[in-house]
C-alpha cells in the first residue's frame, strides 16, 4: 500500500507540473500512466473474455482522454481516483461499443489502477497519420506543426498566418476531434 501512496504523490506532482505547462513532467506522467493503464486493461479484458491485444487501443484512448480533459482534474483532490474513473469509463464504453455482455464493470478500489505496471507496449490498431487526414485542415496542420514537428506555437502561428491563441485552440480542438474520431471508428467497426 505504501508503494501505491508514494506513486500517487509522485504522479500527482507530475500532473500538477504538467498542468502548469511543464512538457517534461507531462511526458513522464503519461509514460508512467501508460504502464499502469496497460496492466489494468489487460487484466480486465482477459476477465471479460476478450483478447489482451485490445488493451493497447484502450491505453491510447485513455491517454488521449487524460490529456485532452486534464482541465477537469481538481488539483486539490487525489489523482488516482481521477485516472481510475477515466480508465473505467473508457473500458465500459469499449465493452459496450463492442456489444459485450460484460459491460457491468464493478467499482473497485481506485488504487487498483496503480497496483500493477506493464511496460511491454505493443502496436495499437490506431493509425495516427490516417486519423489526422480526417480532421479539418487547420486542426491537422496545427497538430502537425506543434505536436509532431515540435515547432513552437509562435513559429506555427507565423507559418499558418494566424494568431498564437488560434494555434492553441486548433491544437486542442484537433486532439479532441481525434479522440472522437477513434471512438466513432470503433462504433462503426462493431456496428
Amino acid at each position: 500500500m505504501n508503494m501505491v501512496h508514494a506513486k500517487e504523490r509522485e504522479l500527482r506532482a507530475l500532473m500538477i507540473r504538467g498542468l502548469d505547462g511543464d512538457s517534461a513532467a507531462h511526458r513522464a506522467l503519461l509514460s508512467a500512466l501508460s504502464g499502469h493503464l496497460r496492466a489494468y486493461y489487460r487484466n480486465k479484458l482477459v476477465r471479460a473474455g476478450r483478447g489482451a491485444e485490445e488493451a493497447e487501443d484502450l491505453v491510447q484512448e485513455a491517454l488521449m482522454a487524460i490529456h485532452t480533459r486534464r482541465g477537469t482534474y481538481d488539483p486539490a483532490e487525489l489523482l488516482t481516483p481521477w485516472v481510475y474513473a477515466i480508465a473505467r469509463y473508457k473500458l465500459i464504453d469499449h465493452l459496450r461499443r463492442s456489444r459485450s455482455s460484460q459491460s457491468n464493470v464493478p467499482i473497485e478500489d481506485a488504487l487498483d489502477v496503480m497496483a500493477a505496471d506493464d511496460q511491454a507496449a505493443t502496436e495499437s490498431s490506431l493509425d495516427l497519420t490516417k486519423l489526422l487526414t480526417r480532421l479539418p485542415e487547420k486542426n491537422r496542420l496545427a497538430i502537425r506543426y506543434v505536436k509532431i514537428d515540435g515547432l513552437s506555437v509562435v513559429e506555427a502561428a507565423a507559418r499558418c498566418g494566424i494568431s498564437e491563441s488560434a494555434v492553441k485552440i486548433n491544437v486542442h480542438r484537433g486532439l479532441k476531434a481525434l479522440s472522437a474520431a477513434i471512438a466513432q471508428d470503433k462504433r462503426n467497426e462493431h456496428g
Binding site: R27, Q60, Y73, D74, P75, K147, G150
Partner: protein
C-alpha cells in the same frame, strides 16, 4: 501506432491548463440559463398582477425560494459530477431536501384545512398550465447546461444527466413562479415537485446518449 509515439505527440509543447475553468463556465451557464428562462417566462406568460398583495407576495417568495433551493443543491452536485470520479463520495440524495421540506409543509397545511378544501388546494386553478410550462421552459436551460457538461468529462452519465435535468427544472420553476397564481403549499409540492422530477427523469434517460465523450 506505438504508444510512445502518441505520448511524444501529447507531450510536445504542453500548454498551461486552467483547472478552475470547468466550474466557472458551468456556473456562468447555469446563471445564463436562469436569465433565459426568466425572459421566456415573462415574455410568454407574464408576471402575476397581484404582487402587492402580501399573501400573494409571500407565496411568490416561497415558490421562487423552492426553485432556487433546487437549483443551488442540484448545481452543487452537478459541479462535482462533471469531473471524472465526481460521483463517488457524493451525497446526491441531499438534492431531495427541498422536495421533502415542501411536501412536509404541504402535509401540515392539508391537515389543518377541512377535507372539503383538499381538492382545490392540490389541483389549484391551473395545474395543467404548470404541468406543461415547467418542462417546456426547462428545455433551453437543459440544452445549454448539457452542451457545457459535454465539454467536461462526467463518468456517470445517468446521474450527471439527472442533475442537469434537475437544475434545468428548478430554473424553470423559478421562472414559472413569477406567473403562477395558485397559492397553496399542496399545489407547489404536487405540481412543481412532479414537473421537476419529470425533468430529472428526462435528464437521466437522455444523459447516457447526450453526454457521451
Amino acid at each position: 501506432m506505438n504508444t510512445d509515439e502518441l505520448i511524444d505527440v501529447l507531450s510536445t509543447n504542453v500548454e498551461r491548463v486552467d483547472t478552475g475553468k470547468v466550474s466557472r463556465t458551468l456556473q456562468i451557464v447555469i446563471i445564463s440559463g436562469l436569465i433565459l428562462a426568466l425572459i421566456t417566462g415573462i415574455a410568454a406568460l407574464g408576471v402575476r398582477t397581484d404582487v402587492r398583495d402580501p399573501s400573494a407576495f409571500g407565496f411568490l417568495v416561497l415558490k421562487v425560494g423552492f426553485g432556487v433551493a433546487v437549483v443551488l443543491l442540484g448545481s452543487r452536485y452537478l459541479l462535482k459530477h462533471v469531473r471524472p470520479g465526481g460521483e463517488t463520495r457524493s451525497w446526491i440524495f441531499l438534492t431531495t431536501v427541498p422536495f421533502v421540506a415542501v411536501m412536509a409543509l404541504a402535509g401540515v397545511s392539508l391537515i389543518s384545512a377541512p377535507a372539503s378544501h383538499w381538492n382545490h388546494m392540490m389541483m389549484g386553478d391551473r395545474w395543467l398550465e404548470c404541468l406543461l410550462s415547467i418542462p417546456v421552459i426547462a428545455v433551453v436551460p437543459f440544452a445549454v447546461i448539457t452542451w457545457t457538461v459535454r465539454m467536461a468529462a462526467p463518468t456517470n452519465l445517468t446521474r450527471t444527466g439527472a442533475l442537469a435535468g434537475l437544475v434545468a427544472g428548478g430554473i424553470s420553476a423559478v421562472a414559472y413562479a413569477l406567473h403562477c397564481t395558485d397559492d397553496s403549499l399542496p399545489f407547489v409540492a404536487l405540481w412543481y415537485g412532479s414537473t421537476i422530477v419529470l425533468c430529472t427523469l428526462a435528464g437521466a434517460l437522455t444523459g447516457p446518449r447526450l453526454l457521451r465523450w
